[in-house]
Symmetry: C2
Subunit: 249 residues, 2 copies
């Protein structure tokens, strides 16, 4: 008898940001698969086998998860909020070649994404229309990324950037800043949110004029306001919010 396959996100890091549906699936699981840092966050439990895999091995991971579920396992693929969607894709792509009849029961449980967790920490910078853009050019051309940032800026969207910069891709965020400088005013608000909701959390609010590519690393989500986004002084700290209204032209 075929088992079950549940793809879930455990959010940006804090236990208080994992939804109960995800906790329940983890409590019943026989096997958990995922990128190493996500699996290391799980509490060990008798009867739960952990199968760590590296980044960029999503398709193999998905095939392995499907095979374990077809053998009767209650299998979870563990991700952060956003990676839930990525691993979801890997899973569906992995399932594509096989006959539907042999598929396990699949469920996807949403998680709090790093972008929205970061936004909450600083106020409401994504309160109006916004875009999410992955700056990694591993699986899409750098020119597509430039094209998207340009349209997001021309459309007046706030933006959230994932994977801005890594050791193997040191230039992605510098290229993004170049496009922003061509399309946005220097006062545009830029937020660097690193390791949100973990003990290493660091949030920096600056402007496009002051932003430097070295302010981001792989644990950083970068948020860019729209032209109406503003800082306001609060008790002991500043907040950033984007008004819900947009001026008539």
């Amino acid at each position: 008898m075929s088992g079950t396959l549940t793809i879930l996100g455990t959010g940006p890091g804090a236990e208080g940001l994992i939804v109960p549906e995800a906790d329940a699936a983890l409590a019943q699981a026989t096997d958990a698969l995922g990128y190493i840092p996500y699996l290391r966050r799980l509490a060990p439990r008798a009867g739960l086998r952990l199968h760590e895999s590296d980044n960029r091995e999503e398709l193999d991971r998905a095939r392995h998860a499907i095979a374990l579920a077809q053998a009767g396992g209650r299998v979870v693929v563990v991700s952060s909020g956003i990676r839930g969607f990525r691993d979801g894709r890997g899973g569906f792509r992995g399932a594509r070649g096989s006959r539907p009849q042999t598929h396990p029961e699949i469920a996807v449980i949403p998680g709090i994404t790093a972008m929205l967790a970061a936004a909450a920490r600083i106020g409401a910078p994504l309160g109006h229309d916004f875009c999410a853009i992955n700056l990694s050019d591993n699986l899409k051309p750098a020119e597509t990324i430039r094209h998207r940032i340009r349209h997001a800026a021309l459309g007046g969207f706030a933006m959230g950037f994932y994977n801005p910069r890594s050791a193997s891709r040191p230039d992605g965020f510098a290229r993004a800043l170049d496009v922003l400088r061509e399309t946005c005013e220097p006062e545009r608000i830029v937020i660097f949110a690193r390791a949100v909701s973990t003990p290493q959390e660091e949030i920096t609010v600056t402007t496009l004029a002051e932003a430097r590519d070295t302010m981001a690393d792989m644990r950083t989500v970068v948020l860019v306001g729209n032209p109406e986004t503003r800082r306001i002084a609060g008790k002991g700290r500043d907040w950033v919010y984007t008004p819900r209204s947009w001026p008539a032209l």
Copy 2:
């Protein structure tokens, strides 16, 4: 002594999609404010006063919440996932005129947004870069909405539309479909996700050619794929996913 003000989202409807941080804030609250349907979802409890307010009264609600917190209350403003951000904005706007010294301690707790909950139910349609667009023209010009949809389509983004259509705004989604038909191919996948995670949940997958404006109402989130988004047959149902890769031009 000033109290606390916590702005939180209770997600699309299911209790299993409320994060523990939000539950903890609700358990300690003395006052909860929010749009009527969100407050009706809360379990009544001695010591918790409920202050219902209507939609479009966000600024009054925010001022009331701040006043209650300044008087020493542990105040929560309750929203769905996305409305957390909206009420957040109202709160920050409400706080703007007053002196920071008198502000209560403010915290924002993120929730699962309807858009991402809807995406999870059908697979991973927002797996690649995406935009969120509010189709209500209450607070922004209809031409701004058209302009944004056009840039989102030209940029190759998947899209999530909030507030597609209501009794007082019957034409918003029809206008959005017109822009999509000018910019996207007829086979583009469109998903209507109504009342996600509640007993009334209904999800319809169709194409831009077959989509009609009457398929959406105020409880519907509409998701539009990017040009690479595809349907795959699963066990007893179809899934929709958007590949993580994007073809080189």
